[in-house]
Symmetry: C2
Subunit: 206 residues, 2 copies
DNA sequence: AACTATATTGACCGGTCGGCCAGTTAGTAA
DNA sequence: TTACTAACTGGCCGACCGGTCAATATAGTT
């Protein structure tokens, strides 16, 4: 850290500041990070950060905005790549989402900080994602591939919650007896979840 | 707030301080709360807090310790009250846990702050709870009531995660299209989860 | 070469932070 | 009464906080 840009390009400078701020905020949260630390890490002066972003709060907003935009963009690309909703597609979507969170622990922490702020800015960006995912589920329901008595949006929410909280509370349930590693949990999660969304075989209907 | 104890009972004073610190820490997190605020809210001097608890960090630890102990104690009482593990018992356990988190949003936030700290102290207290719950699941598996091809500890983890994250990310998915209220989510969660843990009807085994 | 716009700096501001400490008050036991 | 202990107070400390501002440096324009 603290490698001055040399260049006088404001775009590059802003990116350097955002990168440093991102890392620090994700690691320790908004309140525990000082502008001086961000300045030091990004190799610019504190005053320059104020020049480019104004207040500390505004910088935090920009950091979140950028991170969530990148997140939503990447997830949407993955989602659109897939076609023809069926059970395997859902299974793959969950597996990929789980792997994404596994590879990007910063995203999980950013969500957690944002939720504690009761900040709703992240929900606006992926609302379209959820809408699209729920639509796919609904199509599968119409074809009789999934049970029709559940809200498609809840199916999406349920698997997102299951994946997110696994990584968010990792330090917590790593202390629980019998809990396995990422892969073992994902396997069991998929067994229960995927069988749970199948249509009931033939018990009663009314 | 700021009603001086009058009494000179250190036990009462400590409780007052812990109560005030609890509320503030849960609401805004460790870094964003000052000793002065805690002093004001609890009606004692800042110096007195240092006298009783030492550093700010030590106070935070005590707050968490006390809250998690109360949590674990309450949950264990609920768990031990129930007998004879079967599907309805699990369903009731989930419903009660969900209702508990709904009624105690502070617990959810406390868990979230603790996870972000990567603090493992909360996991030690409820490890016994999870062990007990997993044991019940295992018994149900042996009786053929639940599928036997999943780790019982994962069954517990999965429903805890599903409930916790629902409340933690409430502000987030309240912005998602089609997502319903607490009861609607719980209903769908139970449908999928409870059917998912049943033994597979008769498809293939090997 | 002069001018302009802005990126960038360093010094500085009032305020708040966590923590310390000398002193006061009030119970308690000899 | 006296002596001791611990609860409790108010004032102070140096460090650090976010933010401002006047001055400087540099790239681009005329």
């Amino acid at each position: 850290m603290n490698t001055p840009t040399g260049t006088r390009d404001p775009e590059i400078t802003r990116e350097r500041i955002l990168d440093a701020a991102h890392d620090l905020f994700v690691e320790r949260g908004f309140a525990a990070v000082s502008m001086r630390e961000i300045a030091l890490r990004s190799g610019v002066t504190k005053s320059l950060i104020h020049h480019h972003f104004g207040h500390k709060e505004a910088l935090w907003e920009r950091v979140k905005e950028r991170a969530f935009a990148a997140y939503a963009e990447g997830q949407e690309a993955e989602l659109r790549a897939a076609e023809d909703p069926d059970a395997d597609l859902l299974k793959n979507a969950i597996t990929r989402y789980f792997a994404f969170l596994q590879a990007n622990p910063g995203v999980v922490r950013l969500f957690a900080w944002t939720h504690l702020d009761e900040d709703q800015s992240c929900g606006r960006l992926d609302a379209e994602l959820v809408r699209l995912g729920a639509e796919r589920i609904r199509q599968a329901q119409e074809r009789g591939l999934f049970r029709a008595d559940v809200n498609p949006a809840h199916v999406v929410t349920m698997f997102v919650n299951g994946c997110t909280q696994w990584f968010e509370a990792r330090a917590h349930h790593s202390q629980w007896p019998g809990v396995g590693d990422d892969q073992a949990y994902l396997d069991d999660f998929l067994k229960i979840f995927m069988d749970g969304v199948l249509p009931p075989e033939r018990e009663e209907d009314a």
